[in-house]
Protein backbone atom coordinates (compact mmCIF):
# COMPACT_ATOMS: atom_id res chain seq x y z
CA UNK A 1 0.00 0.00 0.00
CA UNK A 2 2.83 2.28 0.69
CA UNK A 3 3.64 2.31 -2.97
CA UNK A 4 0.80 4.66 -3.43
CA UNK A 5 2.69 7.25 -1.58
CA UNK A 6 5.75 6.46 -3.46
CA UNK A 7 4.40 7.62 -6.58
CA UNK A 8 3.13 10.79 -5.39
CA UNK A 9 6.25 11.46 -7.14
CA UNK A 10 5.28 12.74 -10.46
CA UNK A 11 2.38 14.28 -9.18
CA UNK A 12 2.08 16.89 -6.75
CA UNK A 13 1.09 18.98 -9.23
CA UNK A 14 -1.21 21.69 -9.67
CA UNK A 15 0.39 24.84 -10.14
CA UNK A 16 1.87 27.01 -12.61
CA UNK A 17 2.17 30.63 -12.49
CA UNK A 18 -0.47 33.06 -13.55
CA UNK A 19 -2.76 30.58 -15.18
CA UNK A 20 -5.71 32.49 -13.97
CA UNK A 21 -8.51 31.43 -16.19
CA UNK A 22 -7.36 27.92 -16.95
CA UNK A 23 -9.96 25.21 -16.62
CA UNK A 24 -9.14 22.87 -13.73
CA UNK A 25 -8.16 19.92 -15.88
CA UNK A 26 -6.01 22.09 -18.09
CA UNK A 27 -4.37 23.55 -15.03
CA UNK A 28 -3.53 20.13 -13.60
CA UNK A 29 -2.24 18.92 -16.90
CA UNK A 30 -0.11 21.94 -17.58
CA UNK A 31 1.54 21.95 -14.21
CA UNK A 32 2.06 18.19 -14.14
CA UNK A 33 3.78 18.22 -17.48
CA UNK A 34 5.85 21.22 -16.63
CA UNK A 35 7.09 19.78 -13.34
CA UNK A 36 7.79 16.32 -14.74
CA UNK A 37 9.68 17.84 -17.61
CA UNK A 38 11.98 19.52 -15.14
CA UNK A 39 12.38 16.49 -12.91
CA UNK A 40 13.21 14.27 -15.85
CA UNK A 41 16.12 16.48 -16.75
CA UNK A 42 17.33 17.14 -13.25
CA UNK A 43 19.76 14.53 -12.04
CA UNK A 44 20.02 16.18 -8.63
CA UNK A 45 16.35 15.78 -7.88
CA UNK A 46 16.39 12.23 -9.17
CA UNK A 47 19.23 11.36 -6.88
CA UNK A 48 17.42 12.62 -3.84
CA UNK A 49 18.17 16.33 -3.53
CA UNK A 50 15.11 17.26 -1.52
CA UNK A 51 16.10 20.87 -1.19
CA UNK A 52 16.07 21.35 -4.92
CA UNK A 53 12.77 19.55 -5.24
CA UNK A 54 11.30 21.84 -2.59
CA UNK A 55 12.38 24.88 -4.57
CA UNK A 56 10.71 23.49 -7.65
CA UNK A 57 7.50 22.77 -5.78
CA UNK A 58 7.49 26.21 -4.19
CA UNK A 59 7.71 27.97 -7.50
CA UNK A 60 5.60 25.79 -9.75
CA UNK A 61 3.08 24.04 -7.59
CA UNK A 62 2.30 26.07 -4.50
CA UNK A 63 0.65 29.04 -6.12
CA UNK A 64 -2.18 26.72 -7.01
CA UNK A 65 -2.75 25.23 -3.60
CA UNK A 66 -5.14 26.53 -1.03
CA UNK A 67 -3.30 25.69 2.17
CA UNK A 68 -5.71 27.41 4.50
CA UNK A 69 -8.47 25.19 3.23
CA UNK A 70 -6.30 22.08 3.40
CA UNK A 71 -5.36 22.78 6.97
CA UNK A 72 -8.94 23.42 7.89
CA UNK A 73 -9.96 20.09 6.39
CA UNK A 74 -7.22 18.25 8.23
CA UNK A 75 -7.90 19.86 11.59
CA UNK A 76 -11.61 19.43 10.99
CA UNK A 77 -13.88 20.16 13.91
CA UNK A 78 -11.10 21.37 16.16
CA UNK A 79 -10.45 24.24 13.78
CA UNK A 80 -13.07 26.39 15.43
CA UNK A 81 -11.46 26.24 18.82
CA UNK A 82 -8.18 27.58 17.43
CA UNK A 83 -7.59 31.30 17.67
CA UNK A 84 -6.82 33.18 14.45
CA UNK A 85 -3.17 33.28 15.48
CA UNK A 86 -3.13 29.54 16.10
CA UNK A 87 -4.88 28.95 12.80
CA UNK A 88 -2.17 30.85 11.03
CA UNK A 89 0.63 28.86 12.68
CA UNK A 90 -1.17 25.60 11.97
CA UNK A 91 -1.53 26.53 8.33
CA UNK A 92 2.14 27.46 8.04
CA UNK A 93 3.33 24.28 9.69
CA UNK A 94 1.00 22.04 7.73
CA UNK A 95 2.12 23.80 4.58
CA UNK A 96 5.73 22.98 5.40
CA UNK A 97 4.89 19.36 6.14
CA UNK A 98 2.98 18.85 2.90
CA UNK A 99 5.58 20.57 0.79
CA UNK A 100 8.30 18.44 2.26
CA UNK A 101 6.31 15.26 1.67
CA UNK A 102 5.59 16.20 -1.93
CA UNK A 103 9.14 17.11 -2.60
CA UNK A 104 10.33 13.84 -1.15
CA UNK A 105 7.94 12.02 -3.42
CA UNK A 106 9.28 13.92 -6.42
CA UNK A 107 12.79 12.69 -5.70
CA UNK A 108 11.44 9.13 -5.93
CA UNK A 109 10.26 9.75 -9.45
CA UNK A 110 11.61 7.22 -11.90
CA UNK A 111 9.98 7.04 -15.28
CA UNK A 112 6.32 6.79 -14.61
CA UNK A 113 3.99 8.60 -16.91
CA UNK A 114 0.80 10.38 -16.02
CA UNK A 115 -2.42 9.75 -17.89
CA UNK A 116 -5.14 12.36 -17.72
CA UNK A 117 -8.64 11.03 -17.63
CA UNK A 118 -11.45 12.69 -19.55
CA UNK A 119 -12.94 15.61 -17.74
CA UNK A 120 -15.85 17.90 -18.43
CA UNK A 121 -16.63 20.97 -16.46
CA UNK A 122 -20.33 21.44 -16.02
CA UNK A 123 -21.66 24.96 -16.10
CA UNK A 124 -21.63 26.57 -12.72
CA UNK A 125 -19.48 23.95 -11.01
CA UNK A 126 -17.06 25.30 -8.44
CA UNK A 127 -15.86 22.09 -6.81
CA UNK A 128 -14.41 19.39 -9.02
CA UNK A 129 -12.24 16.32 -9.09
CA UNK A 130 -9.65 15.95 -11.81
CA UNK A 131 -8.53 12.37 -12.21
CA UNK A 132 -5.14 11.29 -13.35
CA UNK A 133 -3.32 8.02 -13.21
CA UNK A 134 0.29 7.14 -12.65
CA UNK A 135 1.49 4.47 -15.03
CA UNK A 136 4.58 2.54 -14.25
CA UNK A 137 6.52 1.23 -17.17
CA UNK A 138 6.14 -2.49 -17.49
CA UNK A 139 4.43 -3.31 -14.23
CA UNK A 140 0.69 -3.65 -14.46
CA UNK A 141 -0.51 -1.67 -11.52
CA UNK A 142 -1.52 1.91 -12.07
CA UNK A 143 -2.08 4.30 -9.24
CA UNK A 144 -4.90 6.80 -9.31
CA UNK A 145 -3.94 10.33 -8.48
CA UNK A 146 -6.86 12.69 -8.10
CA UNK A 147 -6.98 16.40 -7.47
CA UNK A 148 -9.87 18.23 -5.88
CA UNK A 149 -10.10 21.82 -6.93
CA UNK A 150 -12.27 24.66 -5.90
CA UNK A 151 -12.86 27.88 -7.69
CA UNK A 152 -11.88 30.85 -5.64
CA UNK A 153 -12.25 34.10 -7.48
CA UNK A 154 -11.12 33.64 -11.05
CA UNK A 155 -8.65 30.86 -10.30
CA UNK A 156 -8.98 27.20 -9.44
CA UNK A 157 -7.08 26.03 -6.38
CA UNK A 158 -6.27 22.53 -5.27
CA UNK A 159 -7.52 21.70 -1.80
CA UNK A 160 -7.11 17.95 -1.67
CA UNK A 161 -5.04 15.26 -3.32
CA UNK A 162 -5.86 11.60 -3.30
CA UNK A 163 -3.32 8.93 -4.06
CA UNK A 164 -4.90 5.56 -4.62
CA UNK A 165 -7.91 6.79 -2.74
CA UNK A 166 -5.91 8.05 0.22
CA UNK A 167 -6.34 11.73 0.84
CA UNK A 168 -3.09 13.37 1.79
CA UNK A 169 -5.10 15.91 3.72
CA UNK A 170 -7.82 14.08 5.57
CA UNK A 171 -5.50 11.21 6.38
CA UNK A 172 -4.20 13.47 9.15
CA UNK A 173 -7.58 13.99 10.76
CA UNK A 174 -7.45 11.21 13.30
CA UNK A 175 -3.93 11.88 14.45
CA UNK A 176 -4.51 15.63 14.62
CA UNK A 177 -7.71 15.08 16.58
CA UNK A 178 -6.03 12.80 19.09
CA UNK A 179 -3.18 15.30 19.43
CA UNK A 180 -5.69 18.03 20.23
CA UNK A 181 -7.58 15.78 22.62
CA UNK A 182 -4.44 15.02 24.55
CA UNK A 183 -2.68 18.35 24.59
CA UNK A 184 -4.82 20.95 22.93
CA UNK A 185 -4.26 23.06 19.84
CA UNK A 186 -0.89 24.13 21.15
CA UNK A 187 0.10 20.51 21.53
CA UNK A 188 -0.73 19.89 17.89
CA UNK A 189 1.26 22.96 16.88
CA UNK A 190 4.21 21.72 18.90
CA UNK A 191 4.26 18.28 17.33
CA UNK A 192 3.96 19.75 13.85
CA UNK A 193 6.86 22.04 14.58
CA UNK A 194 8.92 19.19 15.99
CA UNK A 195 8.13 17.05 12.96
CA UNK A 196 9.13 19.81 10.58
CA UNK A 197 12.36 20.45 12.45
CA UNK A 198 13.39 16.82 12.24
CA UNK A 199 12.50 16.80 8.56
CA UNK A 200 14.63 19.85 7.99
CA UNK A 201 17.60 18.13 9.59
CA UNK A 202 17.35 15.19 7.23
CA UNK A 203 16.89 17.23 4.11
CA UNK A 204 19.95 19.32 4.90
CA UNK A 205 21.99 16.18 5.30
CA UNK A 206 21.17 15.10 1.78
Amino acid sequence: MKSLFALIGGLLIAATAMSQELAPDVLVKTVTNEVLEIVRKDKDIQSGNTKKAIDLVEVKVLPHFNFARMTQLAVARDWRQASPAQQKILTDEFHTLLVRTYSKALTEYKNQTIAFKPFTLKAGETDVRVRTEIRQSGAGKNVELDYWLEKSGPAWKVYDIEVGGISLVTNYRESFASEVRNSGIDGLIKSLQAKNKSGEATSVKK
Binding site: M1, K2, S3, L4, F5, A6, L7, I8, G9, Q72, L73, V75, A76, R77, W79, R80, L97, R100, T101, K104, A105, E108, K110, A115, K117, P118, R131, E133, S137, G138, A139, G140, K141, N142, E144, E162, G164, G165, I166, S167, L168, T170, N171, Y172, R173, E174, S175, F176, A177, S178, E179, R181, N182, S191, L192, K195, G199
Partner: protein, 279 residues
Protein backbone atom coordinates in the same frame (compact mmCIF):
# COMPACT_ATOMS: atom_id res chain seq x y z
CA UNK B 1 15.38 -24.39 9.67
CA UNK B 2 12.59 -24.25 7.23
CA UNK B 3 10.06 -25.19 9.82
CA UNK B 4 11.65 -23.60 12.83
CA UNK B 5 11.85 -20.06 11.56
CA UNK B 6 8.15 -19.48 11.07
CA UNK B 7 7.55 -21.33 14.31
CA UNK B 8 9.91 -19.01 16.08
CA UNK B 9 8.34 -15.97 14.56
CA UNK B 10 5.01 -17.24 15.76
CA UNK B 11 6.31 -17.65 19.28
CA UNK B 12 7.66 -14.17 19.31
CA UNK B 13 4.44 -12.86 17.90
CA UNK B 14 2.43 -14.53 20.58
CA UNK B 15 4.74 -13.17 23.26
CA UNK B 16 4.41 -9.69 21.87
CA UNK B 17 0.68 -10.02 21.57
CA UNK B 18 0.51 -11.03 25.18
CA UNK B 19 2.67 -8.08 26.13
CA UNK B 20 0.41 -5.82 24.17
CA UNK B 21 -2.63 -7.08 25.98
CA UNK B 22 -0.95 -6.77 29.33
CA UNK B 23 0.08 -3.20 28.81
CA UNK B 24 -3.60 -2.68 28.56
CA UNK B 25 -5.40 -1.46 25.59
CA UNK B 26 -4.37 2.12 25.91
CA UNK B 27 -6.80 3.51 23.46
CA UNK B 28 -7.01 7.09 22.42
CA UNK B 29 -10.73 6.67 22.17
CA UNK B 30 -10.87 6.10 18.44
CA UNK B 31 -13.95 3.97 17.88
CA UNK B 32 -12.39 2.35 14.84
CA UNK B 33 -9.40 1.21 16.80
CA UNK B 34 -10.64 -0.24 20.09
CA UNK B 35 -7.58 -2.44 20.62
CA UNK B 36 -5.04 0.26 19.90
CA UNK B 37 -2.67 -0.89 22.64
CA UNK B 38 -2.41 -4.33 21.14
CA UNK B 39 -2.21 -2.94 17.64
CA UNK B 40 0.60 -0.59 18.47
CA UNK B 41 2.59 -3.43 20.00
CA UNK B 42 1.99 -5.53 16.92
CA UNK B 43 2.84 -2.65 14.64
CA UNK B 44 6.14 -2.21 16.49
CA UNK B 45 6.78 -5.92 16.12
CA UNK B 46 6.14 -5.79 12.37
CA UNK B 47 8.32 -2.72 11.99
CA UNK B 48 11.09 -4.49 13.87
CA UNK B 49 10.79 -7.57 11.71
CA UNK B 50 10.84 -5.37 8.64
CA UNK B 51 13.90 -3.36 9.52
CA UNK B 52 15.83 -6.38 10.84
CA UNK B 53 15.10 -8.86 8.08
CA UNK B 54 12.60 -8.08 5.37
CA UNK B 55 13.78 -4.66 4.28
CA UNK B 56 17.49 -5.54 4.10
CA UNK B 57 16.67 -8.61 2.02
CA UNK B 58 14.42 -6.55 -0.26
CA UNK B 59 17.16 -3.97 -0.68
CA UNK B 60 19.67 -6.66 -1.61
CA UNK B 61 17.18 -8.12 -4.05
CA UNK B 62 16.66 -4.73 -5.63
CA UNK B 63 20.39 -4.14 -5.87
CA UNK B 64 21.16 -7.51 -7.45
CA UNK B 65 18.39 -7.84 -10.00
CA UNK B 66 17.99 -5.34 -12.82
CA UNK B 67 14.68 -3.59 -13.04
CA UNK B 68 13.28 -5.43 -16.10
CA UNK B 69 13.75 -8.75 -14.33
CA UNK B 70 12.00 -7.48 -11.22
CA UNK B 71 9.17 -6.25 -13.41
CA UNK B 72 8.96 -9.73 -14.89
CA UNK B 73 8.72 -11.24 -11.42
CA UNK B 74 6.02 -8.75 -10.46
CA UNK B 75 4.07 -9.52 -13.61
CA UNK B 76 4.42 -13.26 -13.19
CA UNK B 77 2.77 -13.21 -9.77
CA UNK B 78 0.29 -10.55 -10.84
CA UNK B 79 -0.86 -12.88 -13.60
CA UNK B 80 -1.54 -15.69 -11.15
CA UNK B 81 -3.34 -13.20 -8.97
CA UNK B 82 -5.58 -12.09 -11.86
CA UNK B 83 -7.34 -15.44 -11.83
CA UNK B 84 -8.17 -14.98 -8.19
CA UNK B 85 -9.22 -11.36 -8.80
CA UNK B 86 -11.55 -12.58 -11.52
CA UNK B 87 -13.19 -15.00 -9.08
CA UNK B 88 -13.74 -12.19 -6.62
CA UNK B 89 -15.18 -9.93 -9.28
CA UNK B 90 -17.58 -12.72 -10.15
CA UNK B 91 -18.59 -13.10 -6.51
CA UNK B 92 -19.27 -9.39 -6.45
CA UNK B 93 -21.49 -9.67 -9.48
CA UNK B 94 -19.11 -7.70 -11.67
CA UNK B 95 -19.30 -10.02 -14.62
CA UNK B 96 -17.67 -7.85 -17.30
CA UNK B 97 -14.76 -7.18 -14.96
CA UNK B 98 -14.44 -10.89 -14.23
CA UNK B 99 -14.25 -11.72 -17.90
CA UNK B 100 -11.77 -8.97 -18.45
CA UNK B 101 -9.61 -10.56 -15.74
CA UNK B 102 -9.94 -13.91 -17.43
CA UNK B 103 -8.96 -12.28 -20.71
CA UNK B 104 -5.89 -10.86 -19.02
CA UNK B 105 -4.85 -14.29 -17.80
CA UNK B 106 -5.34 -15.84 -21.23
CA UNK B 107 -3.36 -13.15 -23.02
CA UNK B 108 -0.58 -12.83 -20.50
CA UNK B 109 -0.12 -16.56 -19.95
CA UNK B 110 0.28 -17.16 -23.67
CA UNK B 111 1.56 -14.13 -25.52
CA UNK B 112 3.03 -12.76 -22.30
CA UNK B 113 5.15 -15.85 -21.73
CA UNK B 114 3.55 -17.24 -18.58
CA UNK B 115 2.71 -13.80 -17.33
CA UNK B 116 6.17 -12.30 -17.38
CA UNK B 117 5.07 -9.62 -19.83
CA UNK B 118 1.86 -7.76 -19.22
CA UNK B 119 0.52 -7.43 -22.74
CA UNK B 120 -3.06 -7.30 -21.55
CA UNK B 121 -2.61 -3.88 -19.99
CA UNK B 122 -1.17 -2.55 -23.22
CA UNK B 123 -4.13 -4.06 -25.00
CA UNK B 124 -6.41 -2.06 -22.75
CA UNK B 125 -7.51 -4.77 -20.32
CA UNK B 126 -7.14 -2.91 -17.11
CA UNK B 127 -5.70 -4.64 -14.04
CA UNK B 128 -8.09 -4.79 -11.11
CA UNK B 129 -7.53 -5.10 -7.42
CA UNK B 130 -9.91 -7.42 -5.59
CA UNK B 131 -9.78 -9.82 -2.68
CA UNK B 132 -12.17 -11.54 -0.31
CA UNK B 133 -12.14 -8.66 2.14
CA UNK B 134 -13.42 -6.37 -0.62
CA UNK B 135 -15.97 -8.95 -1.67
CA UNK B 136 -17.36 -9.03 1.86
CA UNK B 137 -17.37 -5.25 1.86
CA UNK B 138 -19.36 -5.27 -1.36
CA UNK B 139 -21.80 -7.63 0.23
CA UNK B 140 -22.34 -5.10 2.96
CA UNK B 141 -20.17 -6.51 5.73
CA UNK B 142 -18.81 -3.66 7.82
CA UNK B 143 -15.14 -3.16 8.62
CA UNK B 144 -15.14 -4.27 12.21
CA UNK B 145 -12.28 -3.13 14.38
CA UNK B 146 -8.93 -2.24 12.97
CA UNK B 147 -6.35 -4.89 13.73
CA UNK B 148 -2.66 -5.20 12.96
CA UNK B 149 -1.92 -8.79 11.98
CA UNK B 150 1.57 -10.14 12.63
CA UNK B 151 3.71 -10.13 9.48
CA UNK B 152 0.78 -9.24 7.21
CA UNK B 153 0.21 -5.82 8.75
CA UNK B 154 -2.88 -3.61 8.80
CA UNK B 155 -6.28 -5.22 8.41
CA UNK B 156 -9.75 -4.93 9.79
CA UNK B 157 -11.64 -7.81 11.31
CA UNK B 158 -13.48 -8.26 8.04
CA UNK B 159 -10.29 -8.11 6.02
CA UNK B 160 -8.58 -10.56 8.35
CA UNK B 161 -11.26 -13.12 7.62
CA UNK B 162 -10.80 -12.20 3.97
CA UNK B 163 -7.07 -12.74 4.33
CA UNK B 164 -7.58 -16.27 5.61
CA UNK B 165 -9.65 -17.06 2.53
CA UNK B 166 -7.19 -15.22 0.29
CA UNK B 167 -4.46 -17.52 1.53
CA UNK B 168 -6.64 -20.61 1.26
CA UNK B 169 -7.41 -19.73 -2.34
CA UNK B 170 -3.92 -18.55 -3.26
CA UNK B 171 -2.63 -20.71 -6.12
CA UNK B 172 0.95 -20.06 -5.08
CA UNK B 173 0.39 -21.13 -1.48
CA UNK B 174 -1.33 -24.27 -2.69
CA UNK B 175 1.36 -25.21 -5.13
CA UNK B 176 3.07 -28.58 -4.95
CA UNK B 177 5.80 -29.61 -4.39
CA UNK B 178 6.45 -27.70 -1.21
CA UNK B 179 9.97 -26.79 -2.12
CA UNK B 180 9.05 -24.71 -5.13
CA UNK B 181 6.06 -23.39 -3.24
CA UNK B 182 8.24 -22.04 -0.44
CA UNK B 183 10.66 -20.53 -2.91
CA UNK B 184 7.85 -18.89 -4.81
CA UNK B 185 6.23 -17.52 -1.67
CA UNK B 186 9.54 -16.10 -0.48
CA UNK B 187 10.27 -14.58 -3.86
CA UNK B 188 6.85 -12.98 -4.05
CA UNK B 189 7.13 -11.62 -0.54
CA UNK B 190 10.53 -10.08 -1.13
CA UNK B 191 9.56 -8.74 -4.53
CA UNK B 192 6.43 -7.12 -3.09
CA UNK B 193 8.46 -5.51 -0.36
CA UNK B 194 11.06 -4.27 -2.84
CA UNK B 195 8.30 -2.59 -4.83
CA UNK B 196 7.41 -0.61 -1.74
CA UNK B 197 10.90 0.62 -0.95
CA UNK B 198 10.45 4.04 -2.56
CA UNK B 199 7.36 4.62 -0.45
CA UNK B 200 9.18 4.24 2.85
CA UNK B 201 10.86 7.61 2.77
CA UNK B 202 7.72 9.41 1.78
CA UNK B 203 5.75 7.92 4.63
CA UNK B 204 8.52 8.77 7.07
CA UNK B 205 8.44 12.30 5.77
CA UNK B 206 4.68 12.63 5.98
CA UNK B 207 3.70 10.92 9.19
CA UNK B 208 3.43 12.67 12.49
CA UNK B 209 2.73 9.35 14.09
CA UNK B 210 3.53 6.52 11.73
CA UNK B 211 1.15 4.10 13.41
CA UNK B 212 -1.94 6.21 12.98
CA UNK B 213 -0.87 7.47 9.57
CA UNK B 214 -0.63 3.91 8.29
CA UNK B 215 -3.86 2.94 9.99
CA UNK B 216 -5.87 5.78 8.51
CA UNK B 217 -4.29 5.33 5.10
CA UNK B 218 -5.20 1.66 5.18
CA UNK B 219 -8.80 2.39 6.10
CA UNK B 220 -9.16 5.05 3.41
CA UNK B 221 -7.56 2.84 0.83
CA UNK B 222 -9.83 -0.10 1.56
CA UNK B 223 -12.88 2.10 1.49
CA UNK B 224 -11.81 3.36 -1.89
CA UNK B 225 -11.12 -0.12 -3.24
CA UNK B 226 -14.46 -1.50 -2.13
CA UNK B 227 -16.15 1.29 -4.03
CA UNK B 228 -13.87 0.74 -7.00
CA UNK B 229 -12.45 4.22 -6.84
CA UNK B 230 -15.71 6.06 -6.34
CA UNK B 231 -16.50 6.14 -2.64
CA UNK B 232 -19.17 8.57 -1.54
CA UNK B 233 -17.35 11.72 -0.59
CA UNK B 234 -17.14 12.07 3.14
CA UNK B 235 -19.11 14.91 4.57
CA UNK B 236 -16.73 17.75 4.85
CA UNK B 237 -15.94 18.55 8.40
CA UNK B 238 -15.56 22.15 7.60
CA UNK B 239 -14.60 23.11 11.04
CA UNK B 240 -18.28 23.03 11.74
CA UNK B 241 -20.19 19.82 11.59
CA UNK B 242 -20.48 17.96 14.82
CA UNK B 243 -20.42 14.42 13.68
CA UNK B 244 -16.93 13.26 13.03
CA UNK B 245 -16.86 12.46 9.34
CA UNK B 246 -14.57 9.50 9.72
CA UNK B 247 -16.74 7.86 12.30
CA UNK B 248 -20.11 8.85 10.99
CA UNK B 249 -19.60 6.74 7.99
CA UNK B 250 -22.10 3.96 8.10
CA UNK B 251 -22.90 4.30 4.46
CA UNK B 252 -24.43 1.25 2.96
CA UNK B 253 -23.09 0.12 -0.31
CA UNK B 254 -25.58 0.73 -2.96
CA UNK B 255 -25.99 -2.59 -4.72
CA UNK B 256 -24.79 -2.57 -8.24
CA UNK B 257 -27.70 -2.54 -10.54
CA UNK B 258 -26.07 -3.44 -13.79
CA UNK B 259 -25.75 -7.12 -13.03
CA UNK B 260 -27.96 -8.02 -15.93
CA UNK B 261 -25.73 -9.43 -18.64
CA UNK B 262 -24.48 -12.80 -17.58
CA UNK B 263 -23.07 -13.86 -20.88
CA UNK B 264 -20.08 -11.77 -21.83
CA UNK B 265 -20.11 -10.22 -25.20
CA UNK B 266 -16.94 -9.12 -26.91
CA UNK B 267 -18.08 -5.53 -26.80
CA UNK B 268 -17.73 -5.62 -23.04
CA UNK B 269 -14.10 -6.42 -23.38
CA UNK B 270 -13.74 -3.74 -25.97
CA UNK B 271 -15.42 -1.26 -23.71
CA UNK B 272 -12.76 -1.99 -21.14
CA UNK B 273 -10.17 -0.40 -23.31
CA UNK B 274 -11.45 2.95 -22.20
CA UNK B 275 -10.26 4.33 -18.96
CA UNK B 276 -12.74 3.35 -16.30
CA UNK B 277 -13.75 6.86 -15.58
CA UNK B 278 -17.39 6.57 -16.18
CA UNK B 279 -17.73 3.42 -14.12
Amino acid sequence: MKTTLPARIKTVAVAIAAAGLLTGCATSGNPKDPIEGFNRAMFAFNEGLDSAIVKPVAKGYEAVLPSPIRTGVTNFFANIEDLFIGVNNLLQGKVPEAFSDLGRVVINTTVGLLGVIDFASDAGLEKHDEDFGQTFGRWGVGNGAYVVVPVFGPRTVRDTVGLVLDIAADPVANHNPERTRDLALALRFVNDRANLLPADKVVEEAALDKYSYMRDAYLQRRRNLIHDGNPPREIEADAGSNDHPLTAEAEALEPRTELAPVVPVPSMLVARTQLPVAK
